[in-house]
Symmetry: C2
Subunit: 323 residues, 2 copies
């Protein structure tokens, strides 16, 4: 085990996708000070739309950490308006992707600064700081790597599948297009002497976490790390709260339930946190040498997010210390 | 005189800047059918802002023709909202240019389509048609030509002068940066056998009309045309209703009042329409060989715009025919 940290002082790396992952990321940011946490976000869902570079997962994490996310709708900004989108529709432009007016400002600022030569890491640091976020939110890579899904009609981009076709097509395979190196903040965080734990947030293993794993060197680096590597299962009662995970598991023949999640993560994780509703899975998972914690993984409010964050950190032996 | 037209059938070309010109352009569109009118718009004010290509005068003309312009504020769209701008400000981006949410959709659509290779003419035709405008709205050129003003601090771009510095700096000189050919719709309209008249709308001669004149071949083509060329003076009571024209006339030593406007247009025009408030100018202007019409040039409402349009067309001998 690494010994570069003192109890209550070490660093934690969290890997996150969008909405579900963003909730735990916000919980971790609520219990760990900024210098102890790096949140690495999937950018496989990123896409170009009307000339804008849109990073849905970075935005979800940003809005959750800034306390600006809409908790009723489940995505995007609270108190959002849709005037620009209505006008775009009137102008005959594509309206399948919901562009809120304030959300649009994020895309505009990001796209413009990327165009002037800033990296996605630099742009993300600027946007998050502007919204008062003190914790590091880091894209998995500064280079594009795009999640694509093979359907009966051929390979389609993630947003085409997820938003435009609302996950209806049967998925035959998933791939990640592009060669991407870790963003500096990601590589640096994994290499820290005081790294205490890696946490995989409750995001879709295939669509939100696998892209991060597909970045050059990530899988090997995680496998080599001797710190606790804890994943929170995105399943509750064997089903995903939201999104196509259950459908995907079946279509890809990946098995069902937490056994499938654990099998998919393999050696990358040392611990799996599962919901009380799935406590029957504990015996089987433990038999495969995995540390298992059964807890309440549903996160409705900030208090739930922080409670789960504390449980995950405790399962990894990470002391929170005095805030 | 050209004889390619029959009474009530010939074509009219209107040259327009932003707000003031847009009002007469809307009036002309209200009394002439689409196949008899081409509205050519100044693009010297166009600029790049946060990665968007913004064409203020094209937008003003478009909003006026679509009946979507805000008549109280005097610019932009009616019922506009400003959520994106507020967020851009929060993100630390420049907020000196007022980007309304629906206005932003215009800039986004335009910028995206320009980036994919469409010409400004094509983009403008698409945007205006989307908003139900049947008349041709044509940029003066598909190539950028940028109006710049020399001040004590050097040359500055038009929007920097007009919006950011609100016309405060003293202007020493004006120039138009870039080499631009007429947009196809402009050149074709001027070359029509059935061209009956050219109308210069009541826009700033130095800032809104001169850029059009600076496009390759325009000044020569207008001078050679033997049809009536009518300008509506932007002055009422010797002063501009809006904008820096009065200040500019003084700073550039161009004289005062309609004599200065007439001298500036020179041989390009054959007729000048002036307001009743300036009827004393009529004798002097007529003495210089100019056809002069004294009328009410203030346009508050659509009825005023169409009334003035009828007066201008009548002064040019253009029959409106049955609508």
């Amino acid at each position: 085990m690494k010994t570069g940290f003192r109890a209550g002082k070490g660093h934690v790396v969290a890997l996150s996708g969008g909405v579900g992952g963003a909730k735990l990321a916000a919980g971790l940011a609520g219990v760990l000070p900024p210098d102890r946490l790096t949140i690495v976000v999937n950018t496989g869902d990123d896409f170009e739309h009307l000339g804008l570079t849109i990073c849905p997962d970075i935005d979800s994490v940003t809005y959750a950490l800034a306390g600006m996310n809409d908790t009723t709708r489940g995505w995007g900004l609270a108190d959002e308006s849709w005037q620009a989108l209505g006008m775009l529709k009137r102008l005959g432009e594509a309206d399948w992707f919901q562009l809120g007016d304030r959300d649009l400002a994020m895309h505009l600022s990001r796209s413009w600064r990327l165009r002037t030569g800033a990296t996605l890491s630099q742009v993300t640091a600027r946007l998050t700081a502007s919204l008062g976020i003190a914790h590091a939110v880091v894209p998995m890579s500064d280079s594009p790597m795009r999640t694509q899904l093979q359907t009966a009609d051929g390979w389609i981009d993630f947003q085409q599948y997820f938003v435009a076709q609302q996950c209806r097509p049967k998925v035959l395979a998933i791939r990640f297009e592009g060669e991407a190196d870790m963003a500096p903040g990601f590589a640096d965080a994994l290499a820290r002497d005081d790294l205490e734990a890696v946490i995989i947030c409750p995001s879709n293993p295939f669509l939100s976490v696998d892209p991060i794993m597909a970045v050059n060197g990530v899988r090997a680096a995680l496998a080599a790390l001797e710190v606790p590597k804890l994943a929170v299962s995105p399943l509750i009662g064997g089903k995903a709260i939201k999104g196509p995970l259950g459908k995907l598991l079946a279509e890809l023949g990946a098995g069902i339930g937490n056994a499938a999640v654990a099998a998919h993560y393999g050696r990358v994780i040392s611990h799996l946190l599962i919901d009380h509703a799935d406590q029957d899975d504990e015996v089987l998972l433990s038999a495969h040498g995995l540390g298992v914690t059964v807890t309440d993984t549903m996160m409705h409010q900030a208090a739930d997010q922080q409670r789960l964050a504390r449980v995950v950190l405790a399962a990894g032996g990470v002391a929170i210390g005095s805030p």
